[in-house]
């Protein structure tokens, strides 16, 4: 029997995968993708909870968060392109001019 808790577990695993991806990958684009995975795991929690309470609010919330995430992606890609134009790299480890 699949309960809402199972959804939470799956979501947590997805979240952890995303966080690990963010930590381990050097490519800025892939790191960004990992964040999207984390956001979607949160959406999973929202939708699963909405289902378990039989309330629509959580699903609507998920919809909003998807839209907001899209906006974030738009901005993110733009900044990454600006960076690539300046430094010809998308390696996060090479972007360490600001430090100390």
């Amino acid at each position: 029997m699949i309960t809402v808790v199972d959804y939470y577990v799956v979501a947590s695993i997805l979240f952890a995968i995303g966080a690990l991806g963010f930590l381990l990958r050097k490519n800025v684009l892939v790191m960004f993708m990992s964040v999207e995975l984390m956001l979607n795991s949160a959406n999973l929690v929202l939708v699963a909870s909405a289902k378990s309470f039989d309330l629509a609010r959580g699903s609507a919330f998920a919809l909003v968060s998807v839209a907001v995430a899209a906006a974030e992606v738009g901005v993110g890609l733009a900044i990454i392109i600006a960076l690539f134009r300046l430094k010809a790299t998308v390696d996060a480890e090479e972007i360490t001019n600001l430090r100390g």
Partner: protein
């Protein structure tokens, strides 16, 4: 009417600061200096006018109060910008503005050629204003405001002549050490607020007296003791007591009038003021009082030993200031509150005189401060010489100069006190008196008599100081001679200051029990003993340094054989029983000062730097490091739930 005058007392110095700051391009230097002097003289006159009205001893503490504006409210806190002129604050205000005015006038001459002339007077006026806020404020926050303000001015003035960062260390040291004291003060303030629900000083002290009468606060109540101790930590920082006294000798790097005003006559007595202000707390906390007495006596003793061999004329006076402040705390600790305040007043007279005299000497010798390179200045600087000479008598405490009466009052209360502690600190005080007389006359002999040891450059410019500098010296010398008349010994039944202050300390003395009145012959005998001790010390130094520094010219190593050559019986006893241990103590104290206290202060700074380096090392610019720390923090927080 009186309220308005009271407000003016504190507003005038600040107004003068504002005027001088914004018009500093326009104002001629001379005029700026005169404005600054006037901004101190007028408050002094106003204080005299207002203060006369509160002389009458009533059951209620007589006072004039004024509220300038409402200040802090909220969180159950109601604090106004209120001023309160009662006998205690009146005494301090008169000293601050009176001596302050003389020192301002003196500075007109002393700082005449300095490019920072105008800046100097702005800081000085700012200092006077802050000090008045400290003394006149009727609430703890206002007191703290003044407390910080004088600290800031002191810091600015110590660093006055410093051109680059490294040399500003002295100023920074003063600031940091004071901060440790402030921490105690702040905590005490928070605890007082928690206990009494108000920060109004009169309300707090009245509340405590009433609470004691109703049995809420027993004698030796732990909370009251803790508050008293924390207050004393604050006082230790500001008034340069063990172990926080290290900053004061370093502070001598500032211009000499600053040393006279801030580091001798006024600011450093702020700690005394605070303890006197909260005397009820200390009366109810015998442990805290004992700590005050012991710390005071030890400071007096240790600083005096260090002063014995100092070569820098200002350093001698600086250590002497620490030592005299120790006397005052000793007095407060043994319950001789009135005597301690009396000593504050006389000390302000003669220490300001000595510092200004030293300044005059330094001025005449083109900034030479080493007493080993002076000598024989008596004919060249006649007015400076005789005023300084008077100051020496007062500091040493020789009858009938001012220092004699105040010092003797403290020593008398201590030596004749009950238990074992009071006589013990009294004896320590007596030994200190001996050393005080010794180093005072050593300094006098080294500077003014004996063979001239000036270098050529200093000799060429040798001249007596102008009248702006010598007139304040003369006035201070007269005060040092006659100041003792303010409060003659009990049997003389002439005690203006004591009567004036009585209502202030009545609650504290009611708690602790009024000191027993001693028979006249006991008091007189005691006076004679202390006088004998002091004169002995003075006479010995007088003879020993008749021909200049003698064995003290080379560095201290190998001084002991010379001492043994000396045929004097007293000298030999002194050498065997006193000088040896004293030299040890002095060495130890110097060592303690240099390595332990400095070490702790510097070590803390270095530790902070090290931690800062670690923080900056982690900040390596890589997003991955940041994310790793982020996740580590997240994992820690989540795990802390389990």
């Amino acid at each position: 009417m009186e309220e308005n005058l009271l407000e003016l007392i504190i507003l005038i110095p600040f107004a003068s600061v504002v005027v001088q700051y914004f018009l500093h391009r326009v104002l001629p230097a001379r005029l700026a200096g005169l404005i600054a002097c006037g901004a101190v003289l007028v408050p002094f006159l106003l204080t005299v006018v207002v203060g006369r009205g509160i002389g009458a001893a009533a059951p209620q503490v007589p006072a004039v109060t004024a509220t300038i504006a409402s200040w802090l409210t909220g969180g159950g806190l109601e604090v106004a910008f209120g001023l309160r002129l009662d006998p205690l604050s009146c005494a301090w205000t008169l000293v601050v503005t009176g001596i302050g005015f003389l020192i301002h006038v003196y500075s007109l001459g002393y700082m005449h050629h300095d490019p920072g002339f105008k800046r100097f007077f702005i800081y000085m006026n700012l200092f006077i204003g802050s000090m008045l806020a400290l003394v006149l404020g009727d609430s703890l926050p206002l007191l703290f405001l003044g407390w910080e303000g004088v600290g800031l001015c002191s810091y600015l003035l110590i660093g006055f002549w410093f051109e680059d960062m490294n040399n500003a260390r002295a100023g920074q040291k003063a600031f940091v050490v004071n901060r440790i004291g402030d921490l105690g003060f702040l905590l005490a303030m928070l605890m007082i607020f928690q206990t009494f629900g108000t920060l109004d000083i009169a309300a707090v002290t009245n509340g405590l007296s009433a609470g004691h009468a109703q049995g809420t606060f027993a004698l030796g109540d732990a909370r009251i003791t803790l508050i008293a101790l924390l207050l004393f930590v604050g006082a230790c920082g500001k008034s340069a007591q063990l172990p926080l006294f290290v900053w004061l000798p370093d502070a001598m790097a500032g211009p000499t009038p600053v040393s006279a005003l801030i580091h001798a006559a006024t600011m450093v007595t702020a700690g005394i003021y605070m303890v006197a202000r909260f005397s009820v707390f200390f009366a109810l906390a015998p442990v805290a009082s004992a700590v005050v007495a012991i710390v005071g006596a030890l400071t007096a003793f240790v600083s005096a030993t260090i002063a014995l061999r100092q070569r820098d004329i200002k350093k001698v006076l600086a250590y002497s200031t620490c030592s005299q402040l120790g006397y005052m705390f000793l007095g407060l600790g043994v319950g001789a509150y009135g005597a301690a305040v009396f000593h504050v007043v006389t000390h302000a007279f003669f220490k300001a005189l000595l510092f200004l005299g030293a300044g005059s000497v330094i001025h005449a010798l083109s900034h030479e401060q080493n007493a080993m390179k002076m000598g024989g200045l008596k004919p060249h600087l006649p007015r400076t010489h005789w005023t300084f000479f008077v100051g020496c008598f007062a500091l040493a405490g020789i009858f009938p100069f001012a220092g004699f009466f105040s010092k003797d009052k403290i020593l008398g209360e201590a030596l004749l006190g009950h238990g074992w502690l009071f006589p013990l600190v009294g004896v320590l005080g007596l030994i200190t008196a001996l050393m005080t007389a010794f180093y005072t006359f050593r300094l006098y002999r080294l500077v003014f008599t004996g063979p001239e040891r000036l270098d050529a450059h200093a000799k060429k410019h040798l001249h007596e100081s102008p009248a702006t500098m010598t007139v304040p010296l003369v006035i201070l010398a007269l005060l040092s001679i006659g100041g003792g008349a303010l409060s003659l010994p009990a049997f003389a039944h002439f005690d203006i200051l004591g009567d004036y202050l009585r209502p202030i300390f009545a609650p504290a003395l009611a708690v602790a029990g009024e000191a027993a009145h001693h028979a006249v012959n006991v008091e007189v005998a005691l006076m004679l003993v202390s006088l004998a001790v002091v004169i002995g010390g003075a006479w010995w130094a007088w003879n020993r340094f008749a021909r200049g520094p003698g064995d003290q010219l080379p560095l201290p190593q190998g001084g002991l054989p010379f001492l043994l050559e000396n045929k004097w019986f007293v000298d030999e006893i002194y050498a065997i029983f006193v000088v040896g241990p004293m030299r040890g103590t002095a060495l130890l104290a110097g060592f303690f000062d240099r390595y332990v206290i400095d070490g702790i202060v510097n070590g803390l700074a270095r530790l902070c730097d090290l931690c800062g380096a670690v923080v900056r090392l982690l900040q390596n610019g890589a997003v991955h490091t940041y994310a790793l720390l982020f996740i580590a923090g997240a994992v820690y927080l989540v795990c802390s739930l389990l």
